[in-house]
Symmetry: C2
Subunit: 505 residues, 2 copies
């Protein structure tokens, strides 16, 4: 059954499979229902879409195409398209198979990811797949197949170096901007480290947001290759290139459900490493109350999986369990973190824990790259910072990415209004909560307002007196300062040690 | 954070949770992302909606409301509404709990169904729930809670009778129009049987479609109560009243995935019986290749569950395993089936298997209702047909529902063009496939064209000669006849016994 329709544009973009709006009477005629698939043909162009029904939005004989389908078909209002019902793709059968607990073959996983990329799967089908993977799990060979399918779904970097180094952090720790020190250290030692980073989703700053204060981060694949081939490193936004493209489409559904099926998490991370051609990778797994991984045994299990899957994917993966209980850097927020990085590389004694952690991570990469003997990596990394070599390399990278290589900490603007919160009591700081502090900085307007931020004046374990400075908030309006303070009062992220825990009558 | 926006109507209806279209910049400002929830307030009206993002469809400061949200808020274009981010409802936590294999309490199930009814759940969340139930299953107490929650989600019939009888068929068998005989037989015996039926979804005719040839079937709850209190029975379309309202919302997602999680299937069927106040129910479970249930052991398991759950829900449920391998009635299609029913009730000797099966089913209800002693039900039912009492009762029901009680078989119009397919070989009919025959009738235009249909001239086991009539197709255009014949040639639903199964060189 095939029918001709006029076209009307619904000027509104949807993600995922194309949606068309069809008059209910037309749907009955075509023997299709809501959420059924149709094939739409115009000249040589063919797309698949799912049907949404309407009584009034389009009359009989007219098909409402959302902007993207409209563009894809090269249609104009009033043009004629031909429509016929279309069967579900066989990947829907494989999704059901996974629900039933049947292992998927490599070919079936490739077909699911292929249909995802061709936008042949509806949100309902994709959700069923992710839920099934969450409940049933993926075994090693399925995870490997998924990783390879995700890698093949997008572009790959082609670099001159034979050995390519990379790092990844599982995340959840405020001020943990190690990438911006690790990349210049490792590149200064002559190794190649093409780092793609993300923007903040639920945090006040992602590495891409911080780097963007200093240089453009939305580079094309060609530009990235040029920057890395010349300088040995880069810090760019992964979202601007289509490496591991299927991953974004999976995350679109995983995010609202807060579903991180283990197999998909592993595939997502390793696919991004594989797509840049990484041969040696370190994974930073912070453990702690406010971090993504809560217990050491969970972290160990995850590390084992990373290392094993890395091997199967021809990558040497080293996982590191790190302390993720409290903020690492003292500065939190895009601009203020960028300043902190420039200061550390410029030899200033700020955020010592961030410097030390970065040197430890970079040190392992230096050892893996045989630049220094085993056990000497951390010291060599510190030396590359203190000698100014890492600073020089960082500025080369900034320049190649299109930023100002002469930028000084003072050049970077931060929120013009500040407010300092002081201790209301004397005592010892027992704990500074990552999530609470992050929420305060988001309250001040980060990451959208890059100048919004927070500087911690105290660390876990510090003894403070009443009236001593705890932290300073920076924002661009009194309203934003108030908003950040409201979050602070609600979350109370800085906890003092108590001697009397509770007083009972 | 709360913001004011102008309103613009997107004149297009979506099912499920309300969707609003927000400018990307506005979303960043409000610190919300795609698929996040917001609360929209106008005067005293409050709705929850999920966000879809746009670059251009609405400018900053304007919110695109789909028709339903627009109506619900009583908004006009240019009106101001207030918006703030909203947390996910706690039912989302329970859905995740089910994914994790944790049993749900009665209260949690009520909350999920409550949020579903308030349209607080997105399609992604609802799909995750259904997938989790499919994979993890529901235990008895969960199924009972779900059934009660679904019953309480809609209206209930309030009838005068103390004992209420009902029947249900699991479906999948062509021409299996027993309801239209069982209801008049049982009502003629003085029992009360308020039957709500469905329209065809994938079949060429649902009972509601066939009854609609004779009388209106979209009755209000009040009208149904009046018809049943006066005549003892009715045959109406369940979709027109909001009995077990949550069920339709679950089916909206289950249908495109073809997911019938056992617990939901049971809850869906029993909730509809409970909502009409049923005290005695028979469930017809056809078993066969082309039916929904393929094996006798599956059917037995299902019957056991129905009977057990019925008890827990204060209903006496009797499940019957029936032969579902081939079409039951000779007529298939809305009008032609209505004619067949009038003929059987009028004493004509047509579709003997349909008459016999209906008498067996009605007979059990007569025995349950103590109208006849055990073992005498079938004969009493046959007598009620042959005496004309069931016919008289049927016409009372037709009249009360608003149809013509004097209708004669010849008054009913069927497709003006017919075509008879004849045997191309001699032999014995080994099998007539339900699904294939149904597909041929849909090809002719049923159920939308009520006059499209098919009459079988042969049954399983019949000996036929070359050139003998197999079946006649009725449709309203040559094109539809051709379409039906194309389906016939592709599906070959009438299979002859073979002596030589295969010829090898």
């Amino acid at each position: 059954m095939k029918r001709a329709y006029n076209v009307k544009c619904v000027d509104f973009t949807t993600a995922g499979i194309k949606v068309v709006v069809m008059n209910k009477e037309d749907a009955i005629d075509l023997d299709v229902g809501a959420m059924d698939r149709i094939e739409i043909v115009k000249d040589e162009k063919v797309i698949t879409a799912v049907i949404d029904l309407t009584d009034t939005f389009v009359p009989r004989g007219t098909l409402g195409l959302f902007r993207e389908a409209y563009t894809r078909l090269g249609a104009k209002d009033g043009d004629t398209v031909y429509v016929k019902p279309k069967e579900k793709p066989s990947s829907v059968k494989y999704i059901k198979q996974k629900m039933n607990g049947v292992r998927l073959t490599k070919e079936q996983i490739y077909e699911i990811i292929g249909d995802l990329m061709k936008e042949e799967l509806s949100d309902v089908e994709l959700t069923a797949f992710i839920t099934a993977v969450y409940i049933r799990g993926l075994n090693d060979s399925e995870t490997i197949a998924l990783t390879n399918a995700v890698v093949d779904s997008g572009g790959k970097l082609h670099l001159n170096a034979k050995q390519i180094f990379d790092k990844h952090c599982i995340g959840g720790v405020a001020g943990n901007r190690t990438t911006m020190l690790v990349v210049p250290i490792v590149a200064a030692a002559g190794l190649t480290i093409p780092k793609t980073s993300s923007r903040a989703i639920t945090s006040p700053a992602g590495t891409a947001d911080v780097m963007e204060v200093l240089a453009p981060v939305s580079l094309s694949k060609d530009d990235i290759e040029e920057v890395v081939n010349k300088t040995g490193g880069c810090i760019v936004w992964g979202g601007a290139v289509n490496l591991a493209a299927a991953d974004d489409k999976l995350i679109r559904i995983r995010h609202p459900l807060a579903l991180d099926p283990r197999g998909m998490l592993l595939a997502s991370i390793l696919a991004k490493k594989k797509a840049v051609g990484a041969t040696h990778v370190i994974i930073d797994i912070p453990i702690g109350e406010g971090a993504k991984i809560k217990t050491r045994s969970d972290a160990k299990e995850l590390a084992k999986q990373f290392n094993g899957l890395g091997k199967a994917l021809d990558m040497e993966v080293h996982s590191l369990l790190t302390d993720g209980d409290h903020p690492i850097g003292m500065a939190i927020g895009p601009s203020i973190e960028a300043i902190e990085i420039l200061k550390i590389l410029g030899g200033k004694d700020v955020s010592p824990e961030l410097k030390e952690k970065s040197a430890l991570l970079a040190g392992i990469l230096l050892e893996l790259g045989k630049v220094v003997p085993e056990g000497k990596g951390r010291d060599a990394a510190i030396k590359l910072i203190d000698s100014g070599k890492a600073n020089k390399k960082f500025r080369e990278i900034i320049e190649m990415q299109g930023g100002d290589p002469e930028v000084k900490p003072d050049d970077i603007e931060i929120g013009k209004i500040s407010y300092t919160v002081r201790a209301e009591q004397s005592g010892r700081i027992e704990h500074i909560d990552n999530r609470g502090i992050s929420a305060v900085v988001r309250g001040a307007g980060a990451p959208n307002d890059k100048r919004a931020g927070l500087y911690l004046h105290v660390e876990d374990g510090d003894k403070v007196k009443t009236g001593q400075e705890l932290f300073t908030i920076y924002a661009n309006s009194e309203r934003k300062i108030d908003q950040a303070l409201d979050v602070y009062k609600e979350r109370r992220p800085i906890r003092f040690s108590k001697i009397i825990l509770e007083s009972l009558d």
